[in-house]
């Protein structure tokens, strides 16, 4: 729906009109461009975006409407009864070519060094609709090539095609007016508003919506070509909002995260902090199981862990605690809770997580853990808090810990510490046994966000080193402790989670999704 | 120009046997139900008006994602009438099997062996259905879309005294 535009006053009934000679019917309120998209008719555009208002500045979407002397922008015009639209006449094709010629007139020949190459809308539309050689033999207008706009963004003013999508993202999504157009005609430039920088917390969305390579992310520029990236759908682990994302990875390394459309959660956007959460996946990972700080095999580490935990349990289950993290997937939390109750026979299950942070009313939650809701639903009312854990440790009530997920600064009073963790943190150094944990982008699993939606993660990478998904480690510990669990894959664990928690009993595991290479895929713009 | 072939097929066979026909880029083609593969091929060879007596090609297409997954594709030519046709038959993944046409055209022998080797489609009634391009101990059917382009096969060593 065209956001930000006042709804036209039309009757509630469907609109009957003709597009390209075929009679069609559409709900009232759509624009012609949206109507064409619904029936699969391709109309090129630059400045229109489904999540932003439509200013009709680029004029690329012009179509002919019977009765109008000049072509009309289809992104702005609502459908009306008895309207006759033509999108495939010679005149419309000529107009498209002419608009592209204007747009390309001063465009720098930067494709070999431009990040957007391969996912550039200008390249795509030129190739699909124009394909004529240049008529311009003169020089091009020169502008600034590397402008530092703010915290995350670099601007190349020559590449900018003046579509104003970035300005509308700042105004309408981030609600800060950071960017403006300056000057006119072929001297028109994108620049920051007087006295401002582009530093709103949603600035990296401008890089996504920019049809060309004018706005580039400092984090991603020159790091990887678009067509070498493989896209996998997932969920951002930055906070409890759970924005839907795509992981773009090449050669088993994540290069960037981009938002994925979910009208109910994050629409088309995500915040900058969330985009940078992928960095922890490749830093300082625990690669191999450790016993007392020395790398060893999984078999030996599991045996030792089971022995230690079994010892602690047999001495007194009340001194044995299991610490879970709100950063873990539903499957991991469920498996370890079950381990705690059935095999370790303790009811001291603590839930910790990252501390609260800043929030706003756009997308960002104060709760910086992706799965607090899921953990609380699965753990049940007997789940204890981080404050409880601190108190119990200081009081010496708990002397043995199975620590899963994020680290807790290990107190010296612990006699037994088995850590299942992803990074080489202080708990690993202090633990008797440390088992490596695969992180969110390496596993199939699910998070439950603050709205109670269960959202699916797909594995984009192979687990780092020898790390394994958490639920799998729980299964092997359980078997080492004598229980005969039979989970074969994450989907089975998920099935039991849904069976146990009535609130999310209708959640669906979803279809298998193979990573898609960005090559030959249409531009993401 | 080869429309006579499609007309004769429509006259001789019913809709459940010839599933679809068409003409694209000057190629006439007909989609055959796999159970009638042999009957249709024999008719096209023996009918006086189609006279598709020369066997040209037989191969498979892996249409991964579609059910049935494989298409067995055959091209026939008539040296007398100078027209040709493409016949397709959809073969499912779970039981990729279709009749062999070796008794109609002896040349189909090697082409069917190749389709079996590279796609795993079995030809019922073939006298000697074994691999032709790959070595006998090869694992998998390489032209399938889910067979990786790069990989390793088990290394083999010939034991002394072993027969081919």
């Amino acid at each position: 729906m065209a956001g930000g535009m006042p709804a036209p006053v039309v009757p509630r009934a469907n609109v009957k009109m003709v597009i390209d000679g075929q009679a069609r019917e559409f709900p009232a309120g759509l624009t012609i461009l949206e109507a064409c998209q619904r029936v699969g008719i391709k109309v090129p555009f630059f400045c229109w975006h489904p999540g932003l208002s439509a200013p009709a500045v680029c004029r690329q979407c012009l179509v002919e409407i019977k009765g109008f002397p000049k072509p009309i922008p289809s992104c702005y015009t609502p459908v009306a009864d008895k309207m006759e639209v033509v999108t495939n006449s010679k005149k419309v094709f000529d107009v498209r070519r002419q608009m592209l010629e204007f747009t390309l007139l001063n465009h720098p020949i930067d494709c070999p060094i431009c990040d957007k190459a391969g996912e550039c809308m200008l390249q795509k539309h030129y190739f699909d609709w124009d394909a004529r050689i240049a008529r311009n033999d003169g020089g091009k207008v020169r502008k600034a090539k590397v402008v530092d706009l703010g915290r995350h963004i670099v601007l190349d003013q020559e590449r900018c095609i003046l579509c104003t999508r970035c300005i509308r993202v700042c105004n309408e999504v981030a609600r800060q007016q950071d960017l403006v157009m300056a000057f006119r005609g072929d001297r028109q430039l994108l620049t920051t508003a007087p006295g401002r920088r582009l530093d709103n917390p949603y600035s990296l969305n401008t890089v996504d919506v920019c049809p060309v390579g004018a706005l580039t992310a400092k984090d991603f520029r020159f790091s990887m070509r678009a067509w070498e990236l493989w896209a996998t759908p997932s969920v951002c682990p930055g906070c409890a909002t759970g924005c839907n994302i795509e992981i773009h990875a090449a050669r088993n390394v994540i290069r960037r995260l981009v938002p994925r459309l979910n009208p109910a959660v994050n629409k088309y956007w995500m915040c900058d902090d969330g985009r940078l959460t992928y960095k922890t996946l490749h830093e300082n990972r625990l690669a191999a199981p450790m016993i007392a700080g020395a790398a060893t095999s999984w078999g030996a580490a599991l045996t030792e862990a089971a022995r230690l935990l079994g010892q602690a349990r047999d001495k007194s289950p009340a001194t044995l605690g299991v610490v879970l993290s709100a950063q873990m997937t539903n499957e991991d939390i469920f498996a370890f809770s079950r381990l705690a109750t059935e095999c370790l026979r303790t009811d001291r299950v603590y839930l910790v997580g990252a501390p609260d942070g800043w929030c706003d009313d756009i997308l960002v939650s104060a709760d910086k853990n992706p799965n607090t809701t899921g953990a609380k639903l699965i753990g049940g009312p007997t789940l204890r808090t981080a404050a409880d854990l601190k108190r119990d440790l200081e009081a010496g009530v708990v002397t043995a810990l199975l620590l899963v997920g994020e680290a807790v600064g290990p107190p010296d009073s612990l006699q037994t510490l088995v850590a299942v963790t992803a990074h080489q943190d202080p708990s690993v150094a202090a633990a008797q046994v440390a088992l490596p944990l695969a992180m969110w982008a390496e596993v199939d699993g699910s998070f439950t966000n603050r709205q109670g939606k269960v959202q699916r993660l797909y594995a984009a990478l192979a687990p780092a080193g020898q790390s394994r998904p958490g639920w799998e480690t729980a299964v092997r510990l359980a078997r080492a402790l004598g229980a005969a669990w039979t989970y074969g894959d994450a989907k089975q664990v998920f099935g039991e989670v849904c069976a146990k928690v009535t609130l999310i009993s209708r959640a669906d595991w979803g279809k298998p999704e193979m990573p898609v290479q960005l090559r030959f895929a249409n531009s993401r713009g | 120009m080869a429309k006579i072939i499609l007309d004769r097929l429509a006259q001789q066979f019913v809709a459940g046997e010839i599933l679809e026909t068409g003409s694209q880029h000057g190629n006439e083609w007909a989609r055959v139900a796999p159970a009638h593969w042999r009957a249709v091929a024999q008719f096209l060879r023996d009918d006086l008006e189609t006279a598709l007596n020369m066997f040209i090609d037989l191969t498979c297409v892996d249409r991964l994602g579609r059910t049935p997954r494989f298409d067995v594709v055959m091209h026939l030519y008539s040296v007398d009438k100078k027209h040709r046709v493409r016949l397709l038959a959809g073969v499912p993944e779970e039981d990729p099997s279709i009749d062999s046409l070796v008794t109609l055209w002896p040349g189909a022998n090697w082409f069917e062996r190749e389709a079996f080797d590279l796609y795993g489609v079995r030809f019922a009634g073939h006298p000697d259905l074994r691999r032709i391009l790959m070595y006998p101990e090869f694992v998998g059917h390489p032209l399938r879309k889910d067979f990786p382009k790069e990989g390793r096969q088990p290394l083999l060593r010939r034991l002394p005294g072993s027969v081919d």
Binding site: H107, I109, K124, R132, F520 | W110, L118
Partner: protein
Amino acid sequence: MDDPSQTARRVVIGFGDAANLPEDDELPTESMPLNMGPSHPAMHGTVRMVLEVDGEKIRSADVQVGYLHRCFEKEAENASWTQIFPYTDRLNYVSPMLNNVGYALAVEKLLDIDKRIPERAQFIRVIVGEISRITDHLTCLAASAMELAAFTVFFYLMKAREWLWELLEELSGARLTHSYVRIGGVVADLTDDFCPKLRDILRRCRASIDDVDKMLTSNRIFRDRMDGIGIITRDDALGWGLTGPVGRSTGLAYDVRKDHPYLVYDRFDFDVPVGSKGDNFDRYAVRLEEMRQSMRILEQAMDLLPAGPVLIDDARVALPPKREVYNTIESMIAHFKLIMDGIVVPPGEIYSFTEGGNGELGFYIVSNGTGQPWKCRVRPPCFANLAVLNKLLPGLFIADLVPTFGMINMIGGECDR
């Protein structure tokens, strides 16, 4: 194997006349498995024949191919349309231009630009194609003659082939792996002195071929080795799908250039030699005469060669000139998209066939609308031609196998792909 102690046998010693042996006594024989190839001087292009021989006579034969399988189809499914041209060079590697041209025609039909290929490009494709056909036949005759101990013939024909390949090297940069053809035309125009050089080479080639004709065609030894051996009937040709010189030697008058003309073949005056007996000698004679006819086509093509561009002027199909690419954004984008995404071929299927050196060279291409093919199958003429050997060999002597196999002209690159 038989246990010697079980069978009563009489060993015949001495110079007794075998014909005088009692009727029910047979000389004991066992058939012997004989392996020819894959590494064998006569097994061109590597092929393995596992023979069961009874003395010198072949009882049964199992022709095993696949030793030169290099996964052409799998690679083609992972390459863009233009990247496949070097792979096609390496199919029938003694007539690579014919493979290039066959593949290009197939893709052009899918793109619906086959009517817009510039005329000069079509003539050039015919010229280089026919040169490749001549080199193909030269190689076949040279190698086969050498195996019958006619070494002089080998050198005469190899020298002729070398002249042609030198000329193609001047044109494309490589003797064999030209990659000269592109979707929409050819990559570059003929060199300035191409035509005079070619005429001179054709004159010398004619002389070489005439010499070989004189040396072999009435040669008693050659005729004895080739006449009546490896007879294929017209019905065999239909049943086994034999085309090209092998098919035409049986009397089956099918040549794609005449029956379904493509490019500008319908403008040339040439004959198609057809044999009558379908034996090895007929295949030799057909190839010899085909070379002369190809030279006729070449002379006419050079006479009629028009001026003009050699590549279609469509930025969605052919790379723009470099000067444009470096200086205008439009051509830069076109170049970029063509290289990175490949030509966007609309979804569809096509079987396009041309006359290769060995027969009907078909390309069955399935496109799913992207810049890479979904399937790119080669219908290899010598795969079908070689299959008939399983039927021909039983009953022949081992010595007959050599010229029979040679005259089938199996090119390993095309057969195994």
